[in-house]
């Protein structure tokens, strides 16, 4: 098997008394997407900064694209693209000039840098604004320009720190498609996100970080089944039917929870069997559905807080 594109072992980093990372292990196979999920202050950005050579870890080691982040930093910078948490664009340069500059600093050569700049401006829907100084851009436009800069050199490993924060739904889907296209070509992506649907859609594997440690790791499905798999939810019409419903469904499974109007049966229960049992018992229902846990449930269960609440509490 080829070397993983990103491998980090025991990363530690403190800012004074704040322990931002307390021994983080990460791994992403070449051509895959690793999602880094975690509440504010979990250490996501710190991990990204270490992996992109901007910050040195206090302890631990990391290799990206086969290169050591410390010993081979200079060489590594030629093989990675970074879009940090806050858009880093030169406001006095136009969109085109920004991308052209980044391309030149990747040593792409003038014609290639220009061509890539035009191409990416189009891909990120910025062609109309290409020759306007970036200070006239909206927040989302700057963000897109910054993301384009991360991709200029076609680097084999790309780091995106909350790439879709501040993007409208159309731009968000556009970015997802761009990322998917790059990944299909073999690019490895590490992305941090607060949006669980984003991690669900893009990430092959997800690492959940909290308080500077990885508290869970796996595919989206693995994480969901870790906190309990599928369940059947029945919405009752009448409070009085609760006991009856429990008895009826008890014939199928003996672990029934009820809290009006919901009766929940864990496990993979054929809906038809449940409907039949309830019907036979004469229980009227409003709704019946198989529910799979969402990443939201995972986040809530693992970090003890729902994702949105965490975000809000910081605002």
């Amino acid at each position: 098997m080829p070397d993983p594109a990103i491998i980090a072992e025991g990363l530690q980093k403190s800012y004074g008394k704040v322990e931002a990372l307390r021994g983080v292990d990460l791994r992403a196979e070449a051509g895959s997407v690793l999602g880094l999920l975690g509440p504010n202050g979990a250490g996501k950005t710190t991990a990204v900064r270490i992996l992109t050579t901007l910050l040195e870890a206090d302890a631990g080691s990391a290799r990206v694209a086969g290169l050591d982040v410390k010993a081979d930093a200079k060489q590594l910078r030629g093989r990675i693209g970074l879009a940090g948490q806050y858009a880093a664009v030169d406001e006095n340069l136009t969109g085109f000039e920004n991308l052209d500059m980044v391309g030149r600093l990747y040593h792409l050569g003038k014609p290639t840098a220009r061509e890539r700049a035009r191409d990416l401006l189009e891909r990120f829907d910025l062609s109309d604004a290409a020759d306007r100084p970036a200070k006239t851009y909206s927040g989302g436009m700057r963000r897109r320009l910054d993301l384009a800069a991360a991709l200029v050199a076609h680097p084999p490993v790309v780091f995106l720190d909350e790439p879709t924060t501040g993007l409208d739904p159309r731009s968000r889907i556009g970015l997802w498609e761009t990322i998917e296209a790059r990944v299909a070509e073999g690019t490895t992506v590490l992305l941090t996100t607060q949006y669980l649907d984003e991690a669900d859609r893009l990430a092959d594997r997800i690492a959940v970080i909290d308080h500077g440690t990885v508290i869970a790791e796996g595919t989206s499905d693995e994480l969901k089944s870790q906190i309990g798999g599928e369940r059947l939810e029945v919405k009752l019409r009448d409070t009085a039917d609760e006991e009856k419903a429990i008895r009826a469904l008890g014939g199928i499974c003996d672990d029934v929870h009820a809290e009006f109007p919901l009766v929940t049966v864990p496990g993979h229960i054929p809906v038809a069997d449940a409907v039949r049992a309830l019907d036979d018992a004469g229980v009227a229902i409003d709704d019946i559905a198989v529910r799979r846990p969402t990443l939201d449930d995972v986040f809530l269960t693992l970090t003890g807080r729902p994702a949105e609440e965490v975000e809000d509490s910081d605002a």
Binding site: Q75, R77, G84, M101, V102
Partner: protein, 253 residues
Amino acid sequence: MPEMVADALVILKRNLIKFRRQPEMLIGYTIQPIMFVLLFVYVFGGSIDTGMDYEDFLIPGIIVQNITFGGALTAVGLVEDLNKGLIDRFRSLPMARSAVLAGRTLADVVVNLFGVIIVILVGYVVGFRFSTSVPEVLYGILLLLLFGYAFSWIFALVGLYSTSAESAQQIGFTVIFPITFISSAFVPIQNMPAPLEAFAEVNPFTLAVDAMRHLFVGTPAGDSVWQATLWSVGLVAVFAPLAVMKYRKVSAR
């Protein structure tokens, strides 16, 4: 072309574009010396006895003072780049580590040349005249730019340690402003109280100003020309590596 030079030129270009798109920065930088020339010539000129035309005495002093402040653009620019995360972007790229600072300070040289020309033009309006040979004048301008370049590196270091553009400028002005005044820039140092005179004598500004007076209007040079040149080279040699070292470690705020 060596990579470092190519990278520095890319950064230089970016900074010059910035001056073109933010001309108001340059206006501040040019109006101040014009005001100084007019204030000194018309307010103090009559009461300062320099043993020569005050305009000829003053213009070399103003030019040197002005060029040292040109470096403040580097400090302010670097703080902005740090705060906007651009330095992070640059540090994540496979570019030469010294290129961001080199490109930044070279941009000052271009602006400084512009500043020198403005002061000389205003000087001509109030009565200043070159009275030396063309090579002397040209060497004078070259030495000015070199002296200014040295201060760009000092300001680069100040910028990398500052948390805001205002504080970078404040540090620059509160330290450098008095030093430029306790020199031969505006008044003959013989008239100063003894401790100030002692300081003014060893002040590199005095050397630079004396060198400029010699090269522009032919006053006696003493050791000033070669010493001012040496100071400039020495300051670059000390502050450029210090600034680059700090740049390697600096991070966004």
